[in-house]
Symmetry: C2
Subunit: 844 residues, 2 copies
Amino acid sequence: MKPTRRLSDADAASPAGHICRGEAVGHIINRTLKPAIAATSVAILNPPERQLNDDASQAPLSADDLRKLDAYWRACNYLSVGMIYLRANPLLREPLKPEHIKRRLLGHWGSDPGQSFTWVHLNRLIIRDDLNVMFVSGPGHGAPATLSNSYLEGYYSEVYPDRSNDETGMLRLFRLFSSPGGIGSHCTPETPGSIHEGGELGYSLSHAFGAAFDNPDLIVATMVGDGEAETGPLATSWHSNKFLNPVQDGAVLPILHLNGYKIANPTILARIPHEELEALFIGYGYKPYFVEGHDPQEMHQKMAATLERCIGEIRAIQQHARASNDTTRPRWPMIVLRSPKGWTGPKEVDGHKVEDFWRSHQVPVLDPATNRKSLQVLESWMRGYKPEELFDADGRLIGELREIAPKGERRISANPHANGGRLRRALHLPDIRDYAFEVKNPAATYQSPTAVLAKFLRDVIRNNMTNFKLFGPDETASNKLDGVYEASGKRWIAETKPEDSDGGALAPDGRVMEMLSEHTLEGWFEGYVLTGRHGLLATYEAFVHVIDSMFNQHAKWLEKAKQELDWRAPVPSINLLITSLVWRQDHNGFTHQDPGFLDVVTNKSPEVVRIYLPPDANCLLSVADHCLRSQDYVNVIVADKQPHLQYLNMQDAIVHCTKGIGIWDWASTDEGHEPDVVMACAGDIATMESLAAVEILKAQFPDLKIRFVNVVDIFRLMPDTDHPHGLSERDFDSLFTRDKPVIFNFHSYPTLVHKLTYNRTNHENIHVHGYRERGNINTPFELAIINGVDRYTLAIDVIDRVPRLRDTGAHAKNWLHDQVIESVGYAHAEGIDRDEIRDWTWKA
Amino acid sequence: MKPTRRLSDADAASPAGHICRGEAVGHIINRTLKPAIAATSVAILNPPERQLNDDASQAPLSADDLRKLDAYWRACNYLSVGMIYLRANPLLREPLKPEHIKRRLLGHWGSDPGQSFTWVHLNRLIIRDDLNVMFVSGPGHGAPATLSNSYLEGYYSEVYPDRSNDETGMLRLFRLFSSPGGIGSHCTPETPGSIHEGGELGYSLSHAFGAAFDNPDLIVATMVGDGEAETGPLATSWHSNKFLNPVQDGAVLPILHLNGYKIANPTILARIPHEELEALFIGYGYKPYFVEGHDPQEMHQKMAATLERCIGEIRAIQQHARASNDTTRPRWPMIVLRSPKGWTGPKEVDGHKVEDFWRSHQVPVLDPATNRKSLQVLESWMRGYKPEELFDADGRLIGELREIAPKGERRISANPHANGGRLRRALHLPDIRDYAFEVKNPAATYQSPTAVLAKFLRDVIRNNMTNFKLFGPDETASNKLDGVYEASGKRWIAETKPEDSDGGALAPDGRVMEMLSEHTLEGWFEGYVLTGRHGLLATYEAFVHVIDSMFNQHAKWLEKAKQELDWRAPVPSINLLITSLVWRQDHNGFTHQDPGFLDVVTNKSPEVVRIYLPPDANCLLSVADHCLRSQDYVNVIVADKQPHLQYLNMQDAIVHCTKGIGIWDWASTDEGHEPDVVMACAGDIATMESLAAVEILKAQFPDLKIRFVNVVDIFRLMPDTDHPHGLSERDFDSLFTRDKPVIFNFHSYPTLVHKLTYNRTNHENIHVHGYRERGNINTPFELAIINGVDRYTLAIDVIDRVPRLRDTGAHAKNWLHDQVIESVGYAHAEGIDRDEIRDWTWKA
């Protein structure tokens, strides 16, 4: 570790002020040094870059460079306007007429010029320094900027040959754009060069950091919309810099696009004093540079100088860190680009301010097809870009402008990281058999499934130190996955203290990513897999709902990419381990009981979602192994962290999980015949209670023919016509019979099973037990009883449903009812611990 | 409006520096003034409060005050420890023995001392200044602090007489605490004085601002956990200060509890340099005060001085604003309390650091029941608080300490705002008949339902200018609710520009709350209703999933409060208007198509959730009226913003919505007889398509007996045994028949209808059409066709399902198939606008 330096020293020593490592920071921030810091902070908060921006002599662009760069930018802007308006006459070869205008005007103009402005300036430095740059477009509905650049770079036409690099192709691009169902007006999976869906807002920065992790040469330039910046997920994702290792990871260069407006309102960050804005980003740990203005010529010089400086600082930070293996958190640069909304568009239309106002957010001139004056405004706006100087007779960008765009994979639109499946390397996975929990007899021993998984994950990490990450919101240890710390610590690029090595150690190169923000974790994870790497996110069941919407959007991305976009290579799956399950949330209570994420998942396309409920540790291993090998899915694994009974040895577990559903002969009494009743179950706790019910029934009714069916892969319940994992009608009927009662004990809300099986032959005999929203629970077993997923209630249900037991079972029913009452009564006694209850109930 | 002042002037002029209103800020931040600002920002970023904290002479507490205050705090801490550990010997009247220790140790100690510390200091100023203070406890699992204080203030025993204010009651409190199912270890609805559920983290500040809105005399002291502070929702909710009007609203005093650790990790904010932390909160627009240290005596003086100063500033800000009607955004004070985690607990246990480390997050001493040394550590820790000096012979807090707690409703635990139903005033609602859209003939005219609703909401606002708010994420106008701006503008307490009056005007007293953060809006809204006021939140259907988890938690809160807590008075409902619906998201595409929020809602307790799908504008009015009158629900209303056909006049709409489901005779041909087929529908677009299908069928098969059933209240589909709105088996069968085909056209995912109706007599004949995840859509009508919710596919399904049409319908089927193909083909032509398609298809 490097000797600790004072902040002011660090500032002086390197172009980017390194923040001092924590050991000594406590001292620095102590009372006696505070006056010194007060002085230091002046320097920090008024850094030299302010002078840079104010210094008119900073003009790195020659007149010729400036002319070309501006021309290229005008070409982008011209194309953006063309996409919104034109269905004919794409190059304005003739005067604009109403019939050239689209009949439905859609798309978003507001952020396009600023985004293109940034892109073309990035191009300059990509060429100059041979940079590897990705672009993440946060202001979602500004796709014309990305599309224009991608089209001008030629990559768009390579991917979509029908939108060729000539007048015909340009017209086709224009007509398809935001023609409903054509090309989206926000960045979609169809957009080359993008890993970021621009529909829902808030994830640009976390996606960017996910892309930058373990990609040391990559610079992820990220436009953050000032609207998007108001969302919670975005607001906290600035702190991702505390997890980015300057030695091993690439860089993220955030560019806050402060163009001032959302759809119909100013943005908050545009309406606070400059010094608050500056303080905010210093507070987030960045070194903010401001590029502010509206005159393109001045702005080009400012942006060129600022970007040069930022790239220089990034390189200096990385060189320093890598030369000296100093992982101290640097103060990474960022840019605040304060340019007018709808920059270069009409200043005023019909007496309303448009440029630099929310009225330029979408379509600035509303009725050019029907209003002559509007048509003139549009024509004069478009001709202002001088298309005749930008495109040749074929409609292709002129040669001298083509030259200032990067080539090949250096083109931002063609950056291979943005089609991460192309870079995907399969994980080097250890053999799960080596991690098996020994099961000699089923249901005889207890073990925590996640603790077993942890050993496997530990070695997955060891074998894949640069392309696998484990994510968790401060719960890795709580979820009993702390075995992974033997392989690697928790990523931490902030201050440290000596005691941080006690327990899972903090480490600048840790492979475990912990931050108390499910949004940021999921965003990192998505960015990481979309650039071709692997991971697993473990989180509390009740709170995975925090990322419902992110899951939805990622599943939609996968569906589009997989089903419609051959050019996108498959990416590793998102693997979500849902743990700390509802049935062990007696102590945390009602708020921590919510198994409903599965309902959200089952609504998404069957092509991209998978749900597994392994009943024990070896099944969890088998399922996890399968998921880590898969691609283009969101895999949801539901497995508790508490010790549970173990049933299957490794070989049986592999067979069982591969089938996804199966009869457990050792728990059944039907001996291959038509049973009296089917006891079905899905989920570890549900399985245990079903097995216990079978034990009770065996004792009470030795002649009863019971078939025990365990479901791991919940989509096996669906018809094969509706889901690739679905069972045919015949297979389903052969498992569940056509007319016998099925007592289905389910981990989650019971209606989910009905939703999946409503059209099965025997559906009216499927009786599902599961969680329902009720409060006031005292023990895990009482939680089971109150919800009717306990052994006694299950057994009673069997007696009620099997005709021949209705009379003979009366005595047993009474006994079972007594057991329920006694259990609840016993549980109400204070101070009974959970394990004791569980042991007691199991033995009962 | 006040004349604009320079920031530095403002700082000099008033105790809290007012930020200058925007009109002139643009000038201030221009190039020429930048050097001046650079100087100013030094003053801002090193404000005088830093000196305050460093000034040892600031000691407002007399020796006697200090002694009592510390004793009171020790009593809180003693009780907190007692809750975690003791099942007997609550006052340590005898030496501690293993059998006095609970057999299962649960609960969270870490944040308790800091929270109680803050509470007791608030008490001092409540008494001194007769303040009206609420407390929001963000560090969720620190309920012992809230419980201790509530118990010492006596209010806890008033609410729960079995936990009386004596030794018996104390023991009962100890034993119930975190005994599974007893008293939660985080703040739950059962906690008096709390409106904030402490399970999921991230919403303390937005809840606090919601409580403060329109409560001018209220101060909401809000502990923000430094773990919680990492969540996205919390990170952006600091910006709520841009929406708080110092004239009309109360104050929020955030206290960031920087105790450094989460469950098993340091927190980010505790591991950044002091100057970054300070800059961050200045950037968020606050004036941060730091109270840092570990010595209780010093910390008491610091906290007393700092709280005095903060309360003084709040009062000064309010007096200034109210005397001069100056709504300029003030720089509200906030406190950073950097105290050790597990403060006053064991410093070290078994060689591990505990105090000031994450090991004190939950239970610091793990095994006192079985380890003699641990028992000694615990006993010596507890005796360190000197319980014998704090509690009298009866186990009651001694008199001189009782005196330093506030009395009656000034007790934080008894603050009536925290049981907001007690303060609830019914809305003054205008008569919906006055806003009716005229419908002479069904299905003859188009209208935007939300535009009609807007007029009603406009007058709801007008009539209830201090207890109703409309919330929306920058989409009020986009959702065609901009009619409300006639009554009131958009709340904005930040810089403004002259052009801001164009369109819905920004206004410091605006009743419309717009911020691009669904989390913050929902948090404000929850805080607002839990303190007894009313509102409605309108949001895009696809992105309401952003707040799935907040919805879940609020529904759970309501379920608990309503079903189990008689002492909590009913609160106004949360009303969510879901609009910009899936069926009109052809242009925004796949990402904007997600009607699955309803699945999440149907998983929650039937006692607290309601879903309405009004088919037209008058039904929307009727439903909205009903929802605004209701209490203790989450009402979800699904209604599109686009123009739709209108069916029912106001009187019929009221009757129909009151029934929630009904036969539309004018669309049916069964004339009261058993029909051949039931055409059922729910949702505006689904209803239109079903009606169109009926028109086609009438023309093709004049003898066909069709029954048309429209569903507004989706829970009518459930059995009356499962939901209070459910239909009895008999009523359901009389509507849907026992054996005839039911072609159900549904707004959302089709499986939801199966989930609700799976056990109905006629279920196997219910064929549901609805949204499925598929991409590549060109027009709204193609979206309908691809999902099979269009008129042609519905009609084809009828032909397939009605036995006697199977032969005679062959010709019609062919014709219908041709229509489908033609529609899709036609739609594929570029540039066709949506209205045209709709008109065309309707007339087809």
